[in-house]
């Protein structure tokens, strides 16, 4: 246990004295001890320092799930800089947006991503792999042996990472996490999941996602092992779970659906598996019902959280049968209240907005003080308990049952939540507009068994434009989770409000009605 660690780098480095020869990371073709990873951390840290990167600078990491991705993040932490991990499935356009928004000082990229940066990046770039035809970029393979860069001293209140996520309005926003936020998350989760030094967690979820990152930080906290499974395909996940005797698996609903269907068709046993966890959305009840049958020996944890406060609640496995589908209660070290605006705290049988208090409350949004003040603010209904201490407003409505367990009811805003990804209708509309094929566009979420919600758009097409061309544009300009499942072509000008704005609710209602009509 890295009991004394106060920074992300210490969380890793405190293992070197006791278990430097223990396997820390298992990749599909190779495994790496804590000491092996430390060598790469130091080589990259030297490169960062040589390129003028220091305390507080932001560094982008966009790598395939691998020991190198882990080493890159820890090297950034070692020099006191802030890790900005970008999902490998994100487009070059999204990478450029994040780099500009956070004012990145350097980037560490997969060769495929480096190639896609057609224009000069304007900053130091390290390429992990073959950099043929990429002049001016440094190559990881050619970095010299460690030169002894010392860890930069940091306060636990300093920033450690920025995680980009969509809000209900505008472009993606960077959620700022301090070292304390990340360590508090690791300690809380390790406690309620009872994680130990002999645990081997399977990492399928990206490290650009707080849920995925926490698997890594909990294994560093306990001195355990993280097993990388870069392919989120149920058959490959099951194979890896058996081959590496995995003790824990974390996944999101679309992956659980595929895994459970696969195991229903082709049962498999996992003698080493201790627990499985879900977060990032609600698993359909038909799948939940099958989980204890396909994983008879594992504890099942249903959890709830949002990036601005990482994790808020979990349902203990002993209550899974009785309360199937509930998100349970506050995790250790966090307080959760259900607020009825203007009235007070919701009691049994009532519902309200979930708010979160405690050391997991993030530092707000990078460079967006107004959006921060809206999301993280004092709660008048809690004033007599905690004064004006800011809490995170989740934007989610939950119901309190007679025992005090919470049940997710729905979102308060227009945010679309597909498979754990939060999608802003504004962002979808902005990207649709860039096609120059539409006059008006309204994006909205439609309930979907697999993803929770999926994206639909209603458009009026410009003269000469067609639906297929618009879909092709969307596939190119958007990450897969954002591409509309359906395009509703509006036959005339869209209705407007008195102030001339699009009458969105009317458009959405009309499309929803048409969806419910029986198909011809």
């Amino acid at each position: 246990m890295s009991a004394l660690a106060t920074t992300l780098y210490e969380l890793f480095a405190d293992n070197l004295a006791e278990r430097s020869d223990k396997v820390f990371v298992i990749d599909p073709l190779d495994s790496f001890t804590y000491a092996d990873v430390a060598v790469d951390v130091d080589r990259v840290a030297d490169w960062l320092v040589a390129n003028g990167v220091g305390s507080g600078d932001r560094v982008i990491v966009q790598l395939r799930k691998s020991a190198r991705e882990v080493a890159a993040m820890l090297a950034v932490a070692k020099v006191g800089a802030v890790v900005v991990n970008v999902n490998i499935a994100q487009t070059a356009e999204q990478l450029r947006f994040v780099a500009q928004d956070c004012g990145a000082a350097a980037m560490i990229l997969d060769p495929s991503r480096a190639k896609a940066l057609t224009e000069a990046a304007g900053m130091a770039v390290l390429v992990a792999g073959c950099a043929l035809g990429l002049p001016g970029y440094a190559r990881w393979d050619l970095l010299p042996s460690p030169g002894g860069t010392a860890p930069a001293p940091r306060l636990d209140s300093d920033l450690a990472a920025i995680i980009y996520t969509s809000g209900s309005t505008g472009s993606p926003k960077g959620v700022m996490l301090s070292h304390r936020n990340i360590l508090a998350g690791a300690r809380s989760v390790a406690r309620y999941l009872a994680l130990r030094e002999d645990d081997r967690l399977l990492s399928v979820l990206p490290y650009s996602f707080d849920y995925g990152l926490n698997q890594l930080t909990t294994m560093m906290l306990t001195g355990g092992t993280i097993v990388h499974q870069p392919v989120a395909m149920a058959s490959e996940v099951v194979k890896a779970m058996q081959a590496y005797r995995v003790t824990g698996l974390a996944a999101v609903p679309p992956l659980w659906i595929q895994i459970v269907r696969l195991l229903d068709a082709a049962p498999a046993s996992f003698p080493a598996l201790r627990r499985i966890t879900n977060s990032g959305g609600k698993i359909p009840d038909t799948i939940l019902e099958r989980m204890p049958h396909v994983f008879p020996d594992a504890d099942i944890f249903l959890m709830y959280g949002l990036t601005e406060a990482f994790r808020s609640t979990y349902l203990p496995p002993c209550k899974f049968q009785e309360k199937r589908g509930s998100i349970g209660r506050a995790i250790p070290g966090a307080e959760v209240y259900v607020i009825k605006p203007g009235l007070g705290i919701a009691g049994p049988g009532e519902q309200g907005e979930l708010v979160h208090r405690g050391p997991l409350v993030s530092q707000g949004y990078w460079n967006r003080p107004e959006a921060t003040a809206e999301k993280i603010r004092p709660c008048p209904e809690l004033a007599d308990r905690i004064g004006d201490e800011p809490v995170v407003y989740s934007g989610d409505t939950v119901r309190v049952d007679e025992d005090g367990d919470l049940w997710f009811v729905g979102r308060n805003d227009a945010l679309i939540k597909a498979s754990g990804f939060r999608i802003s209708p504004d962002e979808v509309e902005e990207l649709v507009h860039r096609s120059r094929l539409v006059a008006d566009v309204v994006a909205f979420g439609v309930a979907d068994d697999l993803l929770g919600q999926c994206v639909h758009v209603a458009v009026t097409l410009l003269p000469g434009a067609d639906q297929a061309a618009l879909m092709a544009h969307c596939r190119h300009a958007m990450p897969a989770y954002m591409v509309p499942r359906a395009i509703h072509v509006w036959p005339e000008a869209m209705p407007r409000t008195a102030s001339g704005k699009l009458a969105r609710p009317e458009v959405v209602r009309s499309c929803a009605q048409r969806l419910q009509e029986p198909r011809p």
């Binding site: 499935a89 495929s112 068709a265 498979s419 190119h476 990450p479 897969a480 989770y481």
Partner: protein
């Protein structure tokens, strides 16, 4: 069947992680280019165009990692 190499390549080429570059032999999933949602979309397309129903245990890298593997799989299943 209507599932052709050109249609599949056209489709995966549009998927963002590949930035427009794709051939019949480009690794789709093992390269990290396609995530689990892209996979669901691709499976739906294959089922529709080839007129087959794909079982959960058939979704493997052997059958799906490249366009040429997908075509071979669809042909063996007899579309």
């Amino acid at each position: 069947m209507a599932l052709t190499e050109a249609l599949l390549i056209d489709n995966v080429r549009q998927l963002s992680g590949l930035n427009g570059e794709a051939t019949a032999e480009t690794p789709l999933f093992s390269s990290g280019a396609l995530d689990s949602i892209a996979m669901l979309n691709l499976i739906t397309l294959i089922e529709m165009e080839a007129g087959i129903e794909i079982r959960a245990d058939e979704v493997t890298l052997d059958n799906f990692d490249t366009v040429s593997r997908i075509l071979r799989f669809a042909e063996e299943r007899g579309g």
